[in-house]
Symmetry: C2
Subunit: 335 residues, 2 copies
DNA sequence: CACCTCGGTACACACGTGTGCAACCAAACG
DNA sequence: CGTTTGGTTGCACACGTGTGTACCGAGGTG
């Protein structure tokens, strides 16, 4: 286990002072081309890699972004992190990944670790960002960007999908297929974005002068998983919808499974749409029509925002548009 | 943007030297209980968080693990990273996440970054670990643990699922259901584990004295995705199997979709199994019987191995057992 | 020739923390 | 009271890197 070669080792080997080496490596400063070339080849030969810890210490920055996720298992989070990592890598930043599991103690621990590590910025995906947690983050004093957060704060910046526009897109698609009795299954656990998607649903109906039927809009009391979709479908059936727009894909898939169980043909009897475009939409039968969230783009946008904030630029929150993805679960209204 | 409070600020505030503060914080060393308590409460009040970069510099370790994945999008990788992050967090380590995307230049860049950051160890998930890449990693001089790698090296440590045992489990399940003509769809792109699973398939058959039919074992020339499964099913149909064991879940789902397209009822006409237990197995219809890889456990095991290696312990490679998960896609042989 | 300029280099300090060693102090002991 | 002892604390250095400043030599100019 040979200890890594330091800038001093390199300096002695090259017969110069360590400061000359530093300038040669960084490319900045007045170093003769000859010396510079000699140092660079020597560095390669000796396998010199500048110690980022030391560099961070003197520069007062770590070139590091802390990313908090509730759980990496969430297929949505996964793609966002993908985009974050990609953009961070390009900008020369590294990513610390930590999951909070929605546990208060874990959240506090993550903040503490990030403070100790002196991350230059923090990106939080899909979290509630409880008040306690948010305060701790804000007091931290580094740029914080939230992605699809349920939190609306003054000192926090955010990137999110345009829930209203996305929902309008979805419902407009159903309207164009001739549907008029369009049901909506909401989500209790994600109230902010749920409210926005419901607003989009209403606006799309209003634009076509379809009077909304309250019995066509349900809010199952269940966790944000398949069961909410199953329950939602049951609640919706008495209202006799020809199409259903679910809050998200998981709920839509839950409704799909329940429909199959009850012998309801999708899309022949009822058209069905979700929101998010998770991977599983392609695995179910029929494949699920949905509104794609530009997940990787949202991750990239978060990094861009972080970089702008670090540069001291003024930035404002961004809402990225959703994109309609038509698959097999929607078809013309049979009536 | 107040710059973070340093150990010196705390020392002046407490009226002691910074070394006393250091000892008080770390708990080690001879400091009177009174002074210690005073410093600790003061630290809390002033919001002091020890700078890990400085600590790393003087301690010669970073309490950091570099994790390389091909892509975070892979649902398998996701769960492994989950386990890694969890175990690392418990041990006081932080995780640098980087994706290589199976691109040589990215792989080299990742190694370079990890060297600069002086990570204490590296964990690599599901990679080919090309020779170039592997050499660069080995020269790095820190413990390296591979998870489900296709690479067999002398200086590299590894954690993997027991492919042979898992495949035996799968085929034994089908045999118990009365199947005798059991087909197998392999994967070209992951030759090492594919070979092992095929061996397990053969051994299970041999134990029940079922003579293997070569036409029941196919190796579609396709990427490791749904299309391989579709192609595999087509290749297998002429051999008239009553059950199929696919190399993994994605391939099995591909076969499932193709079967539906061709009007073949699963499981009534043909039983179907995968391997891995990815999330989508619960979303397809029928839900997919499979062999679960203990993904999170594999991640945790990798961290344990890393910690042992850092302690200087002798360690040996580990194969974790797969676990049979029976769902709807398998049933008794109809013949 | 003296002076100035400018490119190249070294010296010294700083960043924040851990730690060996010496110094100090109080108490106990002779 | 002097000495020893043991527990607290400070001093100084180290870790690896960036950078302001000074030094030095060469070349140009008056």
């Amino acid at each position: 286990m040979p200890s890594p070669v330091s800038i001093k080792d390199l300096a002695t080997a090259a017969g110069v002072s360590h400061s000359t080496v530093s300038r040669a490596i960084r490319g900045a400063g007045r170093v003769s081309a000859a010396t510079r070339a000699r140092i660079l080849t020597l560095a390669r030969e000796m396998g010199y890699y500048p110690n980022e810890a030391a560099r961070s210490l003197v520069m007062g920055r770590t070139k590091t972004i802390g990313v908090v996720v509730t759980t990496i298992g969430d297929p949505f989070v996964t793609q966002v992190v993908n985009g974050i990592e990609d953009a961070a890598h390009e900008a020369g930043y590294s990513v610390f990944l930590s999951s909070s599991r929605n546990q208060a103690d874990r959240e506090m621990a993550v903040v503490r670790v990030f403070r100790q590590r002196r991350v230059d910025a923090v990106i939080v995906t899909s979290s509630r960002v409880g008040s306690l947690y948010g305060d701790a983050l804000a007091e931290f004093g580094v740029p914080i960007v939230l992605i699809n957060s349920q939190h609306e704060g003054r000192y926090l910046y955010s990137i999110a999908v345009d829930d209203t526009q996305g929902a309008e897109l979805a419902v407009e698609h159903l309207l164009q297929l001739g549907h008029r009795r369009i049901g909506h299954i909401g989500s209790e656990t994600r109230s902010v974005s749920c409210k926005r998607r419901k607003a989009g649903y209403r606006q799309a109906l209003a634009r076509r002068a379809v009077t909304p039927d309250p019995s066509l809009s349900v809010l199952p009391q269940a966790a944000n998983d398949l069961s909410a979709g199953r329950l939602g479908l049951e609640m919706l059936l008495p209202a006799n919808p020809s199409a259903i727009f679910a809050y998200n894909d998981v709920i839509a898939i839950g409704a799909l499974l329940e429909a199959r169980k009850q012998g309801i043909a999708i899309p022949d009897q009822v058209s069905l749409m979700g929101f998010d475009d998770i991977e599983a939409t392609e695995f179910v039968t029929p494949t699920l029509t949905t509104v794609r969230q530009p997940k990787a783009d949202m991750g990239r946008a978060a990094v861009e925002m972080v970089l702008a904030l670090l540069k001291g630029d003024e930035v404002s929150n961004r809402w990225l548009p959703g994109e309609l993805v038509v698959r097999e679960s929607t078809t013309a209204c049979p009536w």
